[in-house]
Amino acid sequence: MTTDLIMPVIILLIITTGFAKKVPMFSCFTDGAADGLKTMVSIAPSLIGLITAIGMLKASGALDLICSVFSPLSDLLGIPSENVPLLFLKPISGSGSLAMLDQIIRENGANSLVSKAAAVMTGSTETTFYCIAVYCSAAKIKNTGYTIPCALLGDFASMAAACFIVMNF
């Protein structure tokens, strides 16, 4: 009930401020939507490549093998073993983790707890290595110091928290 209100309330707030500030709302909307379209076009090729690769991993039985290797670790942390590949993929590749999420949802159904945990895991962090690479090269930083360990610790903590929250509440 309350979660169903989040989206309408945010939209209402934005539209009413837009009214008050006399913003040309519809043209802003179409500009933004065009940007969204560009984003989707730009991620489509990598998604096609990665969804195919992950589909192959699944069909060949390799994915189940990888998950079963890590299952003692994931059991210990309370992460569903199907979601372990996300732990490794998410910091490296945004489209890769989106493709993995799609695979997990296909296997477990869109309404299962495992799929929800995977969705929250994917949504709660960014593509850490990509992000740090872009910013460090822009600022000409060669020695990243403690940035990467700290960022990975954060990714790990948020993904563990994601599973804990979804599985327990």
């Binding site: 979660t3 169903d4 989040i6 989206m7 945010i10 539209i15 401020t17 837009g18 500030k21 913003v23 909307f29 500009d31 933004g32 939507a33 940007d35 969204g36 560009k38 984003t39 989707m40 991620i43 489509a44 096609i48 490549g49 195919t52 690769a53 589909g55 192959m56 991993l57 060949s60 039985g61 390799a62 093998l65 910091p91 590749s93 493709a99 799609d102 799929s115 929800k116 969705a119 929250v120 949504g123 709660s124 962090t125 290595f129 872009v134 910013y135 460090c136 822009a138 930083i141 110091g145 403690y146 940035t147 960022a151 610790l153 954060g154 790990f156 903590a157 948020s158 994601a162 979804v166």
Partner: protein, 196 residues
């Protein structure tokens, strides 16, 4: 990096399929996966475009500036070594609010500007080394605190999830958990007083 990962996934699956006798499943998945990917992209596009349109209105009506004002007291605690009225701090605030609103295309250039301004202001000794401020700033970006996780919601929606909105609050909470953990680590590794 992605080169090796992508090629590795494909090679491993082919080898594994031969050994586990799953070659027929493998070849049918090669044909179907690419089509499934296109279906996913198409079904996600509507929701993603809708939200980036709405967020554009928010930005144009000054929501980003208002949010930046609201966030600056919190952010100033994270960057004790920066001038609160300086260019670097202003750029940090705009980058964080752009991320919050999910304006990815605006956030990255702002972030790059923020990084360059931080380096200018601190003129890090030794040069070309991450400092407490740059590390904290990059972590604010890698932890991704986003008001509306549209991509993820639209993936769930396109798969037929009945309550995709239920993931919004868990995503907020786990982002904050990760962000706090990473920032605590930064504060441990980079002690307070040293101007590094």
């Amino acid at each position: 990096m992605m080169n090796y990962i992508w090629a590795g996934m494909i090679i491993i699956s082919i080898i594994c399929a031969v050994f586990q006798n799953n070659t027929s499943q493998l070849s049918s998945s090669i044909l179907s996966s690419a089509g499934e990917a296109v279906e996913l992209v198409i079904s996600m596009t509507g929701a993603v475009c809708l939200w980036s349109g709405i967020m554009e209105i928010a930005e144009k009506s000054g929501a980003a500036k208002a949010a930046a004002k609201l966030l600056s007291p919190v952010l100033s605690k994270l960057f004790p070594n920066l001038d609160k009225n300086g260019k670097a701090f202003t750029a940090i605030c705009s980058n964080v609010t752009a991320n919050l609103l999910g304006l990815g295309n605006a956030a990255t250039p702002l972030g790059i500007k923020a990084m360059q301004e931080i380096v200018k202001e601190e003129s890090a000794v030794p040069p070309h080394t991450a400092t407490k401020s740059t590390a904290a700033f990059m972590i604010l970006n890698t932890a991704s605190f986003q008001l509306m996780p549209t991509m993820i919601i639209s993936v769930l929606l396109s798969a037929g999830c009945s309550r995709p909105n239920d993931i919004i609050v868990p995503i907020w909470i786990s982002s904050i958990v990760g962000l706090s953990a990473a920032l605590c680590a930064v504060n441990i590794f980079y002690p307070k007083k040293r101007k590094l």
